[in-house]
């Protein structure tokens, strides 16, 4: 019999329930308030008192209200039909909700149990299977969606029967399997999984060995993100975090994108709702929405559900990874999630850590990041989750607890720089402070050599040196004055500026410039390095500024033109002419 309880205390969204039976940590319960069930999660147990965080507003709730415990943790429903959906943090389908305003206690089904799918069997009777084994396949939109043995099934099973090719509903039994004790189990296309537990239905998790193309030059060229890798973007407000994440979500080379809007602005999600069904994925020609699922728990939605939203996103990503897909998971912003943790920790009167965040914040964050990665599935196929989170450091101070904890967990660091943003040098990723640990991986270096150019890694290192030297030169010029430094310094500074303007800066709102494939990135970097390697004759520093400005201007026109089009080639010709004007003989 289910454990029942009565409300005995209410402080904001923390509700204390006196239970009449066993209660487990993180168990879900429903508080029956005026005929509406309010979902809550147990976060602390003290004697027979369960402290719960309610995923709804507790306005009007009274002491003595009845509650019922559900004997399971917060779960998501997995199955075909997740793609292209707009969910809230608890996986309620937002489109199924009636009315303009969100109603308290309104929960909607994540999947449609009666939807029909074209099923093709993969496994056959007699096959040995385990959790995550592919039993069959349906087509979800355009994507082959594997129907797997539910992850909750422990041990080895023998397939007794698999449904024949044909149309089946999500809730229909498509396979029967027998466990080691000889008991039969029916398998439908739907299964449930608790979000806070990682899905481990894979053989091994190798180090990332491939690059994920994002089309953003300052990421791809200078500090590439690995497929199955992790990265984060910290930055003060107004530095273009969200624009950058949107750009990545539109252009990244992934099979599926899960966007988790965690405690951020509603209008930003509306932008995705409005634009993704219209925008095309340049690689496939399909609409972006066809490869996207949105988990949306904006800042005005209940705080506890905000914490759940990042886990919901990760669990959906793990589900699709188990099908052998390349998934990109974006979370904006993980700081809001940490703040949700802080609010609860505060209400439970826990001793606070730095900035009143809970003491175990670093552990929670690194645990979460560790769920990303590429995997070899049990059947030898590969799948991956690449995770890119944003962090909103309080006061733009990168020494605050969330940024510091994330820095320990993520392998790529894309620091947004206020000065760059102020001078409209977008994307404002600081080329010197940012890093990608993946560039040091021998596997990745090998991959870059093979797929881009044998000397690519050296070129990237050179590009970084140019930027660093340019910065040093600019500092010297600022200290000593234009004529207080050798002409060389000006040249060095301006060569770095060329690299900055042509490679690093990118117009996210221009149709052509917003996304640059690797082939074009390689071409442009080569052109910029040519400018760098050339010897020039200048008689005074005053000649340097206008010359390089003109060079940058031509380069920018190239960035705005179709790659290798007639226009593009004309600008290239113009560029060479311009360079030859000053070429030293």
């Amino acid at each position: 019999m289910a454990t029942k309880g009565k409300v005995t205390g209410i402080i904001a969204n923390m509700v204390v329930i006196e239970a009449d039976g066993p209660v487990s940590q993180n168990e879900i319960c429903f508080i029956r308030h005026k005929g509406v069930d309010l979902m809550a999660e147990v976060i602390k147990v003290l004697g027979n008192k369960a402290f719960t965080q309610v995923f709804e507003s507790t306005r009007g709730l009274k002491v003595g209200t009845e509650a019922e415990f559900k004997d399971h943790m917060l779960e998501v429903t997995l199955g075909p039909g997740i793609l292209s959906k707009n969910y809230d943090g608890l996986q309620n389908d937002l489109n199924k909700m009636k009315g303009v305003f969100l109603k308290k206690g309104e929960y909607t089904e994540a999947l449609d149990p009666d939807a029909e799918w074209d099923f093709t069997p993969i496994a056959k009777a007699g096959d040995k299977v385990e959790a995550g084994s592919w039993l069959g396949e349906v087509t979800e939109g355009w994507m082959p969606h594997k129907i797997m043995l539910p992850f909750k099934f422990e041990g080895q099973f023998i397939v007794k029967s698999v449904a024949l090719k044909g149309k089946y509903r999500t809730k229909d039994t498509v396979a029967v399997v027998t466990d080691e004790k000889g008991k039969d189990h029916n398998v439908t296309m739907m299964q449930k999984w608790p979000v806070k537990i990682p899905i481990r239905a894979y053989k091994e998790k190798p180090r990332p060995f491939k690059i994920m193309e994002t089309g953003v030059r300052t990421i791809d060229t200078l500090n590439p993100l690995a497929e199955g890798g992790t990265g984060f973007i910290p930055g003060p407000f107004g530095c273009g975090k969200t624009v950058l994440q949107h750009a990545v979500s539109q252009q990244a080379e992934a099979d599926m994108i899960i966007v988790t809007a965690c405690g951020e602005r509603a209008n930003e999600v509306v932008e995705i709702f409005t634009e993704f069904p219209e925008l095309e994925d340049p690689r496939t020609g399909r609409k972006l929405m066809e490869r996207t699922t949105i988990i949306c728990n904006t800042s005005n939605m209940p705080v506890a559900a905000r914490e759940a939203s990042v886990y919901t996103g990760m669990t959906l990503a793990e589900y699709y990874r188990s099908m052998g897909l390349k998934v990109l998971l974006l979370a904006d912003s993980t700081s809001r999630w940490a703040q949700a943790l802080r609010e609860m920790s505060n209400r439970m009167e826990e001793l606070p850590g730095p900035d009143a965040f809970p003491m175990d914040l670093p552990a929670i964050i690194s645990n979460f990041y560790s769920r990303a990665g590429s995997v070899y599935l049990n059947n030898g196929a590969t799948g991956s989750i690449t995770f890119l989170g944003t962090v909103s450091p309080a006061g733009g101070n990168l020494k605050e607890p969330v940024t510091e904890s994330t820095k320990k967990a993520a392998r790529c660091f894309y620091a947004l720089n206020q000065e760059r943003a102020d001078s409209k040098r977008y994307p404002a990723i600081d080329p010197i402070d940012s890093y990608s640990k993946y560039l040091e991986y021998p596997e990745i270096q090998e991959y870059l050599k093979k797929t881009i150019a044998p000397d690519w890694v050296e070129k990237v290192t050179l590009a970084k040196d140019i930027l660093l030297r340019g910065k040093e030169a600019s500092e010297q010029i600022n200290i000593l004055g234009d004529d207080g430094v050798p002409i060389d310094y000006h040249e060095r500074y301006w060569k770095a500026e060329v690299l900055d303007f042509v490679i690093l800066q990118q117009d996210a709102f221009d149709k052509i410039d917003k996304s640059t494939p690797f082939e074009r990135q390689e071409f442009m970097l080569d052109e910029v390095l040519k400018v760098y390697n050339m010897k020039y004759k200048f008689t005074s520093f005053e000649e340097i500024n206008p010359f390089f400005k003109a060079v940058i201007n031509i380069f920018k026109q190239m960035n705005y033109s179709e790659f290798k089009s007639e226009k593009f080639n004309n600008y290239l010709q113009q560029l060479n002419n311009k360079l030859n004007e000053r070429k030293a003989v």
């Binding site: 709730l61 937002l94 909700m97 303009v100 305003f101 602005r265």
Partner: protein
Amino acid sequence: METTAFQKIYTKITQITKATCSLKAEGVGNEEIATVNGKLAQVVKIQGDTVTLQIFSGTEGIPTNAEVVFMGKAPTIKVSDELAGRFFNAYGDPIDGGPSVEGKEIEIGGPSVNPVRRQQPSELIPTGIAGIDLNNTLVTGQKIPFFADPDQPFNQVMAMVALRAKADKIILGGMGLSNDDYLFFKHIFENAGALDRIISFINTTENPPVERLLVPDMALTTAEYFAHEKHQKVLVLLTDMTLYADALSIVSNRMDQIPSKDSMPGSLYSDLAKLYEKAVQFPEGGSITIIAVATLSGGDITHAIPDNTGYITEGQLFLRRDTDIGKVIIDPFRSLSRLKQLVIGKQTREDHPQVMNAAIRLFADAANAKTKLENGFDLNDYDERTLKYAKEYSRELLAIDINIEIDAMLDTGWRLFAKYFNKSEIGIKEALVAKYWPKN
């Protein structure tokens, strides 16, 4: 708020602090309102049979045998067309001497709009101020604060924007307004003949600070009524949100909560977001646009209040005194309107985005040149030109006393480019340069 017959009256208060009191009571709902010796209070905590009430006007003079009456509902406001032109206090009671308003009674601080039911903001709000229209274009459904030091004329600029914005309703939420500022708003609205579309909820410095906590919810709930049910374009002005946040910290402190950064409550982000996120574009045409003010201390935007605000709002507007021209300007570097991309170059001329960016970049070059000059270095020819450009740009486009159409702003931009620079120095797409570069 009168007492009805069946309500139970409690008279035994067990604990009194500066802002709260506790008593034993039954059947009380969370966030319910009550009166304590006639003073309005709200339930903030229930533990067993002990209920903690926050008393908005403070607990001065509350005896342990005070009469406590629970109302069985959250704070409400009566909404109808009669609200137009009226002034109210934080509780929604008239302060202009007029009769109380009849209408539909709704709870303040109601539920959020389902994000999938929102419409993408798309209607430009022209203000005539180039620092806003050209560089930081406002859109209906947007929420944006002025970040300003207390000595800057933010209330004046806000009133100007409000009156030029052609909204169906303007709702003013004044928190900790000085009496002088309250009268300023009253006069400027009266003089503009706009009183019939203005509704004000005012908490002045003469009123208790905790009362302020009701003001934004009163204003925004009223706004929701007009925007959602009457499909009107509503502009909500909230000034000053810093004083609102201060009131939050007072309450959280009295409730023994552990403060986070700058002694602010750990929930500051969520508290502010709940208000600002009421800005919305409804599919049926109504909209709520929020223009707020958050005063800074010494221009410090890393303080928890402006910092959290900046992460919530869709941009921010900075006022700054430009000593070169002796006028207050909208700072182009630190100001930002995140929603401008939705309208510029689409509802305005195609060259808008590039002219805007180029103009600001050149202004940044001028700032560098100025630093060089201050450090005692010689300026080159380009530096000299940017300095002259910056002065003119500041006077003709950034100053807050500008009132021109957007096309005229763009033309001014091109005129300044042509006057001080050559085509390759401005870095604008060639097609646009060919079309708009002044011919003579």
